[in-house]
């Protein structure tokens, strides 16, 4: 089943893409949306269920206050209006991983609506362009269980039977829906990616979810349609599901643009349908066709009463909002004097918080950047881990830098200090002491080593005496070798020049 695709540049020269994103965020609350079951990831199957989240006959839901507050905070961070009185609704459809065969969600009364996110989209030549993505709504709902498909193929199609674990059923979800984003032209895929990335950062900054795409705690559905260039209309859209990385968001949009264009070029109609994204092959395949069967028979959930956040409550929650990530980024760039490129690399490496803390612990911004994006980034890369997961704290890094500036260690020794800290040998000072890494500042020992080096290299010494100061490097090297690196190279140089002047 391979689709005909139109070359991307050709497609966007003749069609205008319209983008829509539906992002589901699994909240990091201690308990589920409507019951007191815990939400820890990776528990034994069906050990985090109760009559309510199993949908047992007679069970009833009670909404989680923290989940409601998280929804309001997300809404406020997205500049949304917060409903004064909204209800939950039942979305009725049958699926084995949904215990009640309806999802408790919100329908025409979302808790948050009419907001926006200003997305910084990187420009090719450096710098960024800000694209405003309008948010239609953010509403509360619950997650489903998880099915394991058993059979020869291991996939849903062709499985012999399935095994369902309801631990995830009922975990709170916030669904954030954009309005169609138009006028993006060829940049639609990048904007889609940048939107999801920035939304993820916002969610993390709010502390409402770990927002890990790899664990499914943030999931994106990508809607795309094409209209003839300049027509100002909206075409028929497809909804691509299961897009679980930032790169895939970009690729899925790009793929659907090419596929839609081919369908339209052939004079055919795009089916309004759900498409599945395949990470491995980088294509989408047809899923369920949207039809009359999508009759969800929404009605207000009679077992829950409306949520009517008082304005005082909303303002109290507004007071807990962190600085928006893009504002914070601009503020730090200014304060640290980083270039655009340095800042982008910092953010890209996930080092923003680390550098901020290292600076707070006393290091100069550029020094902090040098350690985290240099030596430590290399070590994280070698270990296949993230910077934040390294066994070194911003305070350690600040102390190492201080040791360099005090002259206790040089750069080379400093790297050994970090190695020791990473190996669990203790604080930087403990490593210095234990490994005996402090530079030798005893001029007697150094002087002897210099004399030895001069005696061993008379030709070089002569050159220096003749004024060829650059030749001192060879002697410095010899001294450092003699001292096993534990010397201050600048002091060695001074001594050599003194003795040979």
């Amino acid at each position: 089943m391979s689709d005909t695709l139109v070359d991307y540049d050709d497609a966007v020269s003749r069609y205008d893409p319209a983008l829509g994103l539906e992002v589901h965020v699994e909240l990091g609350t201690a308990t589920k949306m409507f019951c007191g079951c815990t939400t820890a990831f990776g528990a034994e199957p069906n050990t985090q269920t109760c009559p309510t989240c199993l949908g047992l006959p007679g069970s009833m839901p009670v909404a989680n206050r923290t989940a409601v507050e998280s929804a309001i905070r997300i809404g406020l961070a997205l500049g949304c209006s917060i409903s004064e009185d909204c209800r939950f609704a039942r979305k009725n459809y049958f699926y084995p991983d949904m215990p009640k065969n309806f999802q408790t969600s919100q329908y025409d009364e979302p808790i948050a609506f009419d907001g926006f996110l200003d997305v910084d989209v990187p420009l090719e030549g450096g710098g960024t362009e800000t694209v405003r993505v309008e948010i239609e709504r953010a509403h509360m709902e619950e997650d489903t269980g998880k099915s394991l498909h058993v059979g020869t193929s291991g996939r849903i199609h062709g499985a012999d039977y399935s095994l369902v674990d309801y631990n995830r059923a009922g975990i709170p979800l916030i669904e954030i829906v954009t309005r169609p984003v138009t006028g993006l032209g060829a940049r639609a895929p990048e904007v889609a990616r940048a939107y999801v990335a920035q939304l993820r950062d916002l969610i993390v900054a709010l502390g409402v979810s770990d927002a890990r795409m790899d664990q499914g705690s943030i999931r994106a559905d990508v809607n795309l349609s094409l209209a003839p260039a300049g027509s100002g209309t909206l075409g028929t859209r497809t909804e691509t599901k299961n897009v679980n990385s930032l790169r895939s968001v970009e690729r899925a949009v790009r793929y659907e643009v090419g596929r839609h264009a081919a369908v339209l070029d052939a004079g055919e109609k795009v089916f309004q349908e759900t498409r599945h994204w395949h990470e491995d092959t980088g294509i989408t395949t047809a899923g369920r066709e949207k039809s009359d069967a999508d009759d969800y028979r929404y009605f207000p959930e009679p077992d829950l009463v409306p949520v009517a956040p008082s304005r005082e409550w909303v303002e109290e929650l507004r007071g807990t909002l962190p600085e928006p990530p893009n504002v914070r980024r601009a503020r730090l760039q200014e304060a640290w004097g980083f270039s655009e490129l340095e800042m982008r690399d910092t953010v890209g490496a996930g080092a923003l918080d680390l550098i901020e803390q290292t600076v707070a612990d006393g290091a100069a911004p550029q020094a902090a950047r040098k350690w985290w994006l240099g030596e430590l980034a290399r070590r994280a890369n070698d270990a296949g881990t993230e910077l934040v997961d390294l066994a070194v704290t911003p305070a350690d890094v600040a102390r190492v830098q201080a040791l360099v500036e005090e002259g206790t260690v040089n750069d080379k020794l400093a790297r050994q200090v970090l190695e020791g800290v990473l190996a669990g040998e203790g604080t930087p000072d403990e490593v210095v002491a234990a490994r005996g890494l402090a530079v030798v500042s005893d001029d007697g020992a150094l002087s002897a080593a210099v004399d030895e080096a001069i005696a061993a290299n008379p030709d070089v010494a002569d050159k220096i005496r003749d004024g060829k100061v650059a030749a001192a490097g060879a002697l410095i090297g010899a001294v450092m070798k003699q001292m096993k690196g534990q010397a201050d190279a600048a002091r060695v140089r001074e001594l050599i020049l003194e003795k040979l002047s």
Partner: protein
């Protein structure tokens, strides 16, 4: 409202049974269709009774903001959770193969 005067046909019953996931037999569809007319009559009898200015009441109580603190409560054991299951494997509910997609 004219549509409330209609009969529900056996075909329409078949569609509704499909939405409701019930394999009604042809005989049942024929038998149920005229019985469904009672609800159409009820609906028709309400034409014009409540004007546009009358709000809908979904609930008999004026309660608001009934919320639970985010504090874990004991769950069922897996054994209890699975106690009513028609089939169990690997501590999970065994269900027949699933066709079609998640919504």
């Amino acid at each position: 409202m004219p549509e409330t005067q209609q009969q529900i046909s056996a075909d329409e019953v078949a569609h509704l049974a499909d939405l409701a996931r019930i394999d009604l037999s042809a005989e049942e569809r024929e038998r149920l269709a005229p019985q469904l007319a009672v609800v159409l009559e009820y609906a028709a009898s309400l034409d014009g009774v409540a004007g546009d200015d009358v709000p809908a009441t979904s609930h008999p109580l004026p309660l608001r903001n009934v919320l639970r603190e985010d504090v874990p409560q004991p769950s069922l054991t897996a054994e209890e959770a699975l106690s009513g299951a028609p089939a169990v494997e690997q501590q999970r509910f065994e269900v027949p193969r699933i066709l079609g997609d998640e919504q």
